[in-house]
C-alpha cells in the first residue's frame, strides 16, 4: 500500500510511546479504516515484543573501569573543574587575537595601496617630463623677417623664361 497515511499509521505503531496527539491521530485513522485493525494488532504486538528484549547486565564497576582506562590514556585530562581563565578569558582572548590580526591586515593593505598610488603618480610624472621641451627664445630672433617673406612681390616668371 502506497497510501502516505498508511505509512504514517505504520510509523506511529513503531514507537512504544506516543504523544496524546499521536494517539488521537492513530485512533482516528483506525476509526476511518476498520479493516486495518488486524494490521495494527500485529504491529502493536511486535513493538511490545521488541520492548520486552531484556536489558543486558552491566557490571557495577563499569563507570569506574571506563574512568580508569581514560585516565591511563590521557592523564592530563584529570583536571579539576574549569577555572575562570578557561571559561571566560580564553575565548575572549581568542576573539581579540583574531580581531587584532584583521586590523593589522587592514593597515598593511592600506599602506600597500598608498605605496602603489605614489609609484603610479611617479611613473606618470616621468612620462610627462619626457615630452620634448619648448624651443628657446633665440629661435624667435628673425621672426619678423621670416614673416615678411610671405608679403614680398612674386617674381616675373615670363621675364625669367625669356632670359633663359
Amino acid at each position: 500500500m502506497h497510501d502516505p497515511d498508511y505509512h504514517k499509521f505504520l510509523e506511529l505503531n513503531w514507537r512504544a510511546k506516543r504523544s496524546e496527539a499521536e494517539e488521537m491521530e492513530l485512533r482516528q485513522w483506525l476509526a476511518d479504516h476498520p479493516e486495518m485493525e488486524a494490521d495494527r494488532d500485529r504491529e502493536a504486538a511486535l513493538t511490545q515484543a521488541l520492548g520486552h528484549l531484556p536489558d543486558v547486565e552491566v557490571s557495577s564497576n563499569f563507570t569506574a573501569r571506563v574512568l580508569s582506562r581514560t585516565a591511563a590514556l590521557r592523564p592530563g585530562q584529570l583536571s579539576p573543574r574549569p577555572t575562570l581563565w578557561t571559561q571566560l578569558w580564553r575565548p575572549l582572548l581568542r576573539r581579540a587575537a583574531l580581531a587584532l590580526v584583521l586590523v593589522v591586515a587592514g593597515i598593511f593593505g592600506f599602506q600597500r595601496h598608498e605605496v602603489d598610488s605614489r609609484a603610479r603618480l611617479g611613473r606618470n610624472i616621468a612620462a610627462f617630463s619626457s615630452v620634448a621641451a619648448e624651443p628657446g627664445a633665440d629661435v624667435l630672433q628673425d621672426f619678423e623677417a621670416i614673416r615678411r617673406l610671405d608679403q614680398m612681390p612674386r617674381p616675373d616668371e615670363q621675364l625669367l623664361a625669356l632670359l633663359k
Binding site: 505509512h7 513503531w14 531484556p54 543486558v56 547486565e57 571506563v66 581514560t70 585530562q77 574549569p82
Partner: protein
C-alpha cells in the same frame, strides 16, 4: 567579509552559552571538553545501559559486549574536542557505538574467513569445525522464556543495518531524524530499513503475533508456519 567576521565575533559560539534545557547532555559534554571528569562520569552512568544493550544486540557476544561498550565511552572521551555544541549528544554517542560495532562485526567476519583459508594440519582429515554464528545462544539469565528467545533469534538474523535500525527505534529519546543521522542515510531510507526489518520479524514471529498481545502460541500454529 567584514560582515561575516563581525557575525562570528558577535555570535554565541562559546561553550558558556548553550542553554541546558535544550540538551542537558550537550552541556555536560561541553564540560567534558574542558576536562571535567565529573561530567564525563555522569554521562557514562546515564548511557551505559542503552549503549550496552545496543552493542550486545549488535555483536551478540556477552563477553565482548562490555569491553566494546567501554570502548565507546573511551572514544567519546578521546573525541571530545571534536564535539560540536549544536549536535545532540545521544546521536553523536550512538554514531560512535554504531561505528565500533560495525568495525567489530567486519573484524570477526574477516577473522573467520582467514581461519577457513588456513592450511590444515597433517593429521586433520575433516574440515575444521566452527561455531555457527547464526544460531546464537545468549546467556540463560537474559532469557525469560521461549518467546524472548524467538525474538532474540529473529533480531539476530536480520542484516546488520536493519538490526541497527530496529534497535535504535527502541530508543525513545531518538527521533526518526536522529536515527537517520546515526545510520548515515536519508530519512526515507531509514524508514524503509525499519519497515523491511519489521516485515521480516512479523513473518518470522507470526505465530506469536496473532492477537494484539504477546502470547504463547499453541502447537498447531507453530507447525503450520
Amino acid at each position: 567579509m567584514a560582515g561575516a567576521v563581525l557575525k562570528y565575533l558577535g555570535s554565541g559560539r562559546s561553550s558558556l552559552v548553550t542553554p541546558a534545557d535544550q540538551d542537558p547532555d550537550a552541556t555536560l559534554m561541553l564540560r567534558v571538553k574542558q576536562g571535567d571528569i565529573a561530567a564525563f562520569s555522569e554521562l557514562v552512568d546515564k548511557y551505559k545501559q542503552p549503549v550496552m544493550n545496543l552493542v550486545y544486540w549488535m555483536i551478540h557476544d556477552a563477553t565482548e559486549a562490555e569491553d566494546l561498550a567501554q570502548n565507546v565511552f573511551i572514544q567519546v572521551h578521546k573525541s571530545a574536542h571534536r564535539y560540536r555544541s549544536e549536535a545532540k549528544f545521544s546521536t553523536w554517542l550512538y554514531t560512535i557505538a554504531r561505528n565500533l560495532c560495525l568495525n567489530e562485526i567486519r573484524r570477526r567476519s574477516r577473522h573467520q574467513s582467514e581461519s577457513l583459508d588456513a592450511p590444515r594440519s597433517p593429521g586433520e582429515t575433516s574440515a575444521p569445525q566452527f561455531e555457527d554464528k547464526t544460531v546464537f545462544s545468549p546467556p540463560a539469565s537474559l532469557l525469560r522464556g521461549e518467546l524472548e528467545a524467538k525474538v532474540d533469534e529473529a533480531v539476530a538474523a536480520l542484516p546488520e543495518n536493519q538490526r541497527l535500525a530496529i534497535l535504535l527505534c527502541r530508543q525513545e529519546d531518538l527521533s526518526y531524524d536522529d536515527i537517520s543521522e546515526v545510520l548515515g542515510c536519508s530519512l526515507s531510507a531509514t524508514k524503509s530499513l525499519i519497515h523491511r526489518a519489521r516485515e521480516t520479524l512479523k513473518q518470522r514471529l507470526k505465530p506469536y503475533l496473532v492477537s494484539g498481545t504477546w502470547h504463547q502460541p499453541d502447537s498447531s500454529q507453530l507447525f503450520n508456519d
